[in-house]
Symmetry: C2
Amino acid sequence: MSWYSKTAPRGDIVVSTRIRLARNIKGMPFPSKMTAEQFCRVNELVRDVIFKSNSPIVKQLKYIKMDNVPEVERFAMVERHIISREFALNYQNRAIIISDDEEICIMLGEEDHIRIQVVFAGLQPQLAYNIADDIDNILCQNLDIAFDERLGFLTECPTNLGTGLRASVMLHLPIMEQKDEIGILAKSIRKQGFTIRGMYGEGSKALGSLYQVSNQVTLGVNEQNAINSLERMTYQIIGQEEETRKMLNPIKLQDRCMRSYGILKNSYILSSQEMMARLSDVKLGISEKIVHCNETPIKLMIEGSPYMITRILGYDSPGDRDIIRAKKIRETI
Amino acid sequence: MSWYSKTAPRGDIVVSTRIRLARNIKGMPFPSKMTAEQFCRVNELVRDVIFKSNSPIVKQLKYIKMDNVPEVERFAMVERHIISREFALNYQNRAIIISDDEEICIMLGEEDHIRIQVVFAGLQPQLAYNIADDIDNILCQNLDIAFDERLGFLTECPTNLGTGLRASVMLHLPIMEQKDEIGILAKSIRKQGFTIRGMYGEGSKALGSLYQVSNQVTLGVNEQNAINSLERMTYQIIGQEEETRKMLNPIKLQDRCMRSYGILKNSYILSSQEMMARLSDVKLGISEKIVHCNETPIKLMIEGSPYMITRILGYDSPGDRDIIRAKKIRETI
């Protein structure tokens, strides 16, 4: 069961929590400078260390060479938030070690040699961090990981130097967005070492009103503190979104959410953009107890993404995709 | 049961047929110049003649003084297409003789002394004309109706001179409208003595895609010919609308009609304008066998009109009207 199929704490506003640790092997150039042989060497080193460990986590993991993953599947993995877009594009010689539920994914040969990533539904930074940390311990105990006593973990990009930790949450903030409060929020959290950006789309409004909040500071801080402060910051933003929602006209809110539900339930052609907007309203309606829905909107958003639909369709056709997407959503919602 | 609650021949495209005969009493000024006493005299003359007749039509008729009809009810009658807007505005001293199903309505003191109006659902010009003609015969046999051997019936406005007959159909032409074919149609039917205009709204698009086609010529023609030629013209336009519909992309059509149905089924605030547009799509969907609906869209359109809703509401509030309208439609559609 994928992360996005699960119900989770504060899932009404916090879609997911993501922990990422960047690590590199000493004496090896960074991936941007690596040869095919060196990629192979890194992949095998990490694979062997992980699968020889007797940690219970290892049982659910599998090793996949990215050269064996077709393009559509690679980009569908991006849409499921398992791998980065850059990794899907520069996939040659790379590999991943991934859990069956896709909550754990170790990318080998992304910007750094090793990127441990744990994604959980809802607000679960501590739990996600604990798993990432367990994997980190296996690696650090068995590999010569590039580490400087003064700086901390060494990484390709200086913004990751130190902990190599990026902790983030994906938040659903439809009403703060509607009230134009995201800009103010961005300013205020920047001062506290956090950043916010739209998950999808560009311009003033994020597609689906989904925003990613992540820590910016990796140098001179400790990992546990970073996790704690992300959790605090998230509760603060949840509070703001909830306060803003209290000021809404109930009938207007009901009208907005139910109309979007009605459209999804009855549409026969549905673009990805419109799906995001309508499902965002439905998600808002569910958390405000206005809409009842058979499936979580986030699961539908992800499963309705272009490559996820192309995967079902078996061929590439934006027109047919909009028809299949409409059918899928109409029948499950 | 009102005319708009009935199913009728070619009701898929022809919403209603309306026959109107304008008559005046000799030796009496036209209503624009009449005194209160003269209105009273005309009302009583016509009332007495009608109710003394032994025609079976008379049994279902009743006489109503417009001074006793409150404003909201008067304009709700306009929305039900029973009386004209002008008559609702200039109601003082006027009266109507109306059937229980509101298919027959004789306005006394509109532009002419007597306006016999028969409205039937669907395409039924002959049937509607026969009833109007029966009433006309009662009047002509018992009153001194202003008639000129050379010109025909005398009327206040010269455009009605001759037969005093206006025969019209209300047509639902969503696809000809979408394809910008109404302008061309208007030109072509004008040459044949007909005119077309949007039933509601101004500008290039008629609200609800509803158009009224009526005969223009009253002088030097015979009533039966006018009825026949309206029927022929209507079939011609039906054919054009049907041809245009055949060229539509079926999935786009289904998407359009079902979305509108979904919105109506799930909206909590609904303006009159939006209701008309969405119900027009639903009507199209029903006639194309895409949408199933518990109630005819035309009935919903009329019952969702502003004054019809104000009547239920009991007070005037456009905001509350949109909420009541949404509820009424959501629950009946």
